[in-house]
């Protein structure tokens, strides 16, 4: 018998589920690539370039020529400290001379005075003019003498992209044209001048140039990129990327659950037809081959539609994000996202549906005569489970960037897949036992939930998994993001007071206290360089971490403290004050990882001409985004208290106290004020952008959930019709039928909502504590949303989709 007239019934649900899976992967790959590129570019703005080389000596033309040969843009700046006279008072300023190409990334902002509208500037000051920091705003429109040359102070410099690269060393900025620098006479042999050579270009070109640069770097030169430039920015970006990865995978898990449920439904619907075909002599391999062909065609069609849909979804996202970013998402031209989507679609479809169809092809031909249970053998059960796990694992491996996260997500999915049916089954049984000999509706509908023929428990488990994933995305989106932002308290400091002399510390503290200005504990800063690790010179160590050598050659600002700074956590060893060792270092965990440091390692540091040695006694985690004074290295006071040092503290200086700052600076002229509110706003902007993008993936999750819901309701439709017909025959009214369905779906929703909230809470806790390093708070609203949404959605959708059941003729029971 030819099979050409046979078709897969109701396979459209499976088709839609596969389309959504392919679309999610296509879209997420395209969108994350584009957002990553945008985030990288935004981050590059903080360097005013993609890559920077720093040196205290003038660069020869080698780097510039090599960069230009590779098609990169190049810019140069020179910074030095000097004193200028303002109102006849000497003022230490950070002079920066820039060329016409500066900045390569980001834009300068300027204004005519403090209250005037800010405007973007394509390039820095023209020859003969200077732009001044707002703290020098009193002399705007006047002439300013720098060295031997007079300049017109024409604009206030309100934003400079790469401000804050060396956060503790900034005096008020004076920006000038590099062509004017020589005439000032400030750059002479022995001057402390910092040269910056900046590069920008395509990612690949920058990466290859960086590799070349690393091997050709001369002593005293230092490469700066985003990774080592700003720890708080790096932390924000890494966390954002993790959020994306998690949200995408969870959305995909929902889509795969939809494929699994629809495949099961399709296979069940096919069973009677298969029994008939087998009774007519069609062999099981022939049937399997036929269904394999059907699935192949389904995959090709779903991939085509899914890829187009995924590609098209970029546009609404771009539209949504443009409002927030104020700029267009950069385009990514690559075939890889489409190819990955097709492979993931194939894996998901094959992994979930093939075993079901294989099982369906084993439907006994006897079924044509009477109901015969198609008992699954152990091997076939193992094949189904193993195939599904392998499919999920392969997809996670393809898509996840964090292997730990991939294993955790797989663990959660497996736990749900195995434990949920058991728990839900026990729960229904428990309700059944407790409700024996009571109201028939309860007995009846509980027995409906328990009926294995309908697979209600598995459908409920599938839907629970979907809800768990949606709740987890919600947790990621709201709770974790909210928690992260909450860690930036309202009284976050907006100024750093740096370069405070030891003799001025008490006076500064008193000054602030008198004016009720909130300030942090003052921290001493001892500038040191790392000379040796465990007796080996750092320049001879081959670090396994790619950023190891850069980190080791930094100038470190070491502090000493008796108490562990706020929002620092000891992750290994003991805090300094808990040890009696007179020579100890507490190391930030990121630095420890980059340098391969462990407890007990000996660090030799040089401070000017002095050398000090101490062992690592603790490793700390630091919340860099809190904008409080944070340190890579903290020593015990006995070790460095006598070393040359300056002090810093952070303060929240509100508008009403800003006038006092002038008085503070007059009284303590060495102090430099650093306004960090702009930097904070930039970090917050990244969080905001990530939130908008996550909401977009939420839509995909909801679309997949709808498919699961439809499949779940469709699964029991035939039985529901027969049962409603029976109840009608026995005299049931429409209102009674309606009650049965409302109660059935509400109870189903309540059970699903309960377990989904419980598991999402546990998973949310694990994810926040172990992956995002954020304290997790129990969320009552999560439980509320879960229970209410599951009950409402299931009841509304269930009763709506089942509405024809209420009009079913009781004659159906005689005919069925």
């Amino acid at each position: 018998m030819k099979l050409k007239h046979a078709t897969i019934h109701s396979y459209w649900l499976m088709f839609v589920a596969t389309v959504i899976t392919v679309a999610i992967v296509t879209s997420s790959q395209l969108v994350t690539n584009r957002i990553s590129l945008l985030l990288d570019r935004q981050a590059s703005e903080l360097l005013a370039a993609d890559l920077v080389v720093l040196s205290s000596k003038k660069f020869d033309s080698e780097y510039r020529s090599a960069a230009l040969e590779q098609g990169l843009q190049v810019s140069q700046s020179v910074s030095l400290r000097t004193a200028v006279f303002i109102d006849d008072e000497p003022q230490l300023v950070e002079l920066k001379a820039v060329d016409g190409a500066y900045p390569l990334r980001g834009k300068l902002e300027r204004a005519h005075d403090v209250t005037a509208q800010r405007s973007y500037a394509e390039q820095g000051p023209s020859v003969g003019e200077v732009w001044l920091d707002s703290k020098l705003g009193s002399i705007i429109s006047q002439d300013l003498t720098i060295g031997e040359q007079n300049f017109a102070a024409s604009w206030l410099l309100t934003y400079e992209p790469d401000r804050g690269g060396a956060i503790f060393n900034l005096a008020p900025r004076v920006l000038m044209n590099i062509k004017d620098l020589a005439q000032t006479g400030l750059v002479v042999p022995g001057s402390r001048v910092r040269y910056r050579l900046m590069f920008a270009g395509d990612q690949a070109d920058i990466a290859s140039f960086k590799t070349w640069l690393t091997t050709n770097l001369k002593p005293g030169e230092e490469i700066q990129d985003l990774e080592n430039a700003r720890p708080e920015m790096r932390s924000a970006l890494e966390r954002t990327r993790k959020f994306f990865a998690l949200a995408i995978v969870l959305t995909l898990v929902i889509a795969m659950a939809a494929i699994a449920i629809t495949a099961r439904y399709t296979a069940n619907r096919e069973a009677p037809k298969i029994a008939m075909l087998r009774a007519f002599g069609i062999s099981q391999p022939s049937l399997f081959k036929y269904y394999l062909g059907q699935l192949g065609r389904l995959w090709i069609a779903a991939t085509a539609v899914g890829v187009i849909l995924g590609w098209a979804t970029q546009f609404p996202l771009q539209w949504a994000l443009d409002g927030w970013f104020g700029k267009t998402l950069p385009q990514v031209y690559a075939l890889r996202p489409y190819f990955t989507a097709a492979v993931v679609g194939l894996l998901a479809l094959a992994g979930f549906s093939l075993p079901y169809l294989l099982n369906a092809t084993a439907t006994p031909p006897m079924q044509v005569l009477r109901t015969v249970v198609n008992r699954r053998s152990w091997s076939r059960g193992l094949l189904m489970t193993g195939s599904a796990i392998t499919a999920v694992f392969c997809v996670l491996v393809i898509l996840m960037q964090s292997s730990l996260l991939a294993i955790a997500v797989l663990g959660i999915v497996l736990a749900c897949a195995f434990i949920l049916p058991l728990i839900l089954g026990w729960m229904v049984k428990l309700l059944l036992v407790s409700s024996r000999r009571r109201f028939w509706l309860r007995q009846y509908l509980l027995s409906r939930l328990q009926a294995s023929s309908r697979g209600a428990i598995y459908v409920m488990s599938g839907f629970s998994l979907v809800l768990i994933a949606i709740l987890l995305i919600a947790v990621v989106k709201d709770e974790l993001m909210g928690e992260w932002q909450a860690q930036l308290p309202a009284d976050i400091p907006n100024y750093f007071l740096i370069n405070i002399r030891s003799s001025d510390v008490a006076g500064v503290e008193e000054f602030l206290r008198q004016r009720q200005i909130e300030a942090s504990t003052p921290y001493a800063l001892v500038r040191a360089r790392m000379a040796q690790i465990n007796g080996v010179d750092v320049d001879k160590i081959r670090f396994s971490h790619p950023r190891g050598s850069h980190s080791a050659t930094h100038t470190f600002n070491i502090t000493y403290a008796d108490a562990l700074p706020v929002q620092n956590k000891i992750v290994a060893g003991y805090w300094l004050s808990e040890n009696r060792d007179p020579a100890q270092f507490s190391v930030e965990e990121g630095l420890a990882e980059r340098l391969g440091l462990k407890l007990g390692d000996q660090l030799t540091m040089t401070v000017g001409s002095k050398t000090l040695q101490a062992s690592v006694t603790s490793i700390r985690s630091v919340l860099w985004e809190n904008f409080k004074p944070n340190f890579f290295l903290i020593a015990n006071s006995e070790l460095i208290a006598e070393m040359p040092q300056t002090w810093l503290l952070s303060a929240l200086i509100r508008d009403q106290h800003k006038a006092d700052l002038k008085q503070l600076l007059q009284r303590y002229p060495s102090i430099t004020l650093l306004d960090i509110s702009e930097l904070m706003a930039r970090v917050q902007a990244i969080v905001d952008k990530a939130t908008v993008a996550l909401q977009f993936f939420f839509l995909f999750a909801l679309a997949s959930a709808t498919i699961v819901l439809l499949a779940a309701i469709q699964t029991g439709r035939h039985e529901r019709e027969v049962e409603s017909s029976l109840l009608r025959a026995l005299g049931a009214h429409t209102s009674q039928l309606y009650r049965v369905h409302v109660l059935e779906f509400t109870l189903m929703g309540a059970l699903i909502g309960f377990f989904a909230a419980a598991i999402a809470s546990m998973a949310g806790w694990a994810v926040s504590v172990y992956f995002f390093d954020i304290e997790y708070h129990f969320s009552a609203s999560l439980w509320g949303y879960s229970l209410v949404s599951a009950c409402l959605v299931l009841t509304l959708a269930g009763t709506l989709v089942s509405r024809r059941v209420y009009n079913i003729s009781p004659m159906k029971i005689l005919r069925s």
Partner: protein
């Protein structure tokens, strides 16, 4: 006009359905009276219209023409909701495929029509009914775990639990072997004799046909013998 001693009265009843090939007459001009406490057995070949006739008599479906009176109520002007009210508690059914609620136990299945009719002491009445069919020991057994004969006994207990005025049985022994079928028939007629319930039974079985007070033979939607 229905007479008071008639449980069911059909006057020139016809049933027509729409098919892709046009209208099809399933029943033609059927007139039939069933008295209270009478046992009427309907026989006919497959497709002769006997199940349709049973459905019309029980008010499960509506006639295309003519008049059906059940328990003194003319069904012609009644909608589905009103016909359900007429059936509730007064009409029992036994089906060829049993049609029990899977996943529920025997007692819960028997309680179903009692609770639907809001009858008090539903569980006690259901337990008594199960006792009458000899299944009191299996009251809490899930019906899926019962044999075919036992499942049909549960269906009979369910049908008699409400003490119905009339019981409709559609091939009640059709899915059972000869011995079990005979036992089920004995049980059904025994309970019917005890309760005085009117019985309308559709069957192929010659033996069952002989047990009715009256036999009706159908062919191509018409009554051949009454």
């Amino acid at each position: 006009m229905a007479e008071n001693n008639l449980c069911i009265a059909l006057k020139q009843v016809g049933k027509t359905v729409n098919t892709p090939d046009g209208e099809l007459d399933i029943l033609n001009n059927i007139s039939l009276d069933v008295k209270y406490q009478e046992a009427v057995v309907i026989k006919g070949a497959s497709g002769s219209g006997k199940t349709t006739l049973l459905g019309l008599m029980a008010g499960l479906d509506q006639a295309s023409s003519g008049e059906v009176v059940l328990l003194g109520q003319n069904l012609a002007d009644k909608n589905e909701e009103q016909r359900s009210s007429i059936r509730a508690g007064k009409v029992g059914f036994v089906f060829q495929s049993f049609h029990l609620v899977k996943g529920a136990n025997a007692l819960q299945n028997v309680m179903l029509p009692l609770e639907l009719g809001a009858i008090e002491n539903a569980s006690e009445l259901a337990a008594t009914s199960l006792q009458q069919v000899g299944l009191e020991a299996k009251a809490y057994t899930q019906v899926d775990h019962l044999s075919g004969g036992e499942q049909q006994r549960v269906a009979i207990a369910r049908a008699f639990a409400t003490r119905p005025t009339v019981l409709f049985a559609d091939e009640p022994t059709g899915n059972l072997d000869a011995t079990t079928g005979r036992q089920i028939a004995d049980l059904m007629f025994h309970l019917r004799d005890q309760s005085g319930t009117t019985l309308v039974l559709v069957t192929h079985e010659e033996e069952l046909l002989q047990r009715g007070d009256r036999q009706i033979l159908m062919e191509s939607g018409r009554l051949l013998a009454n």
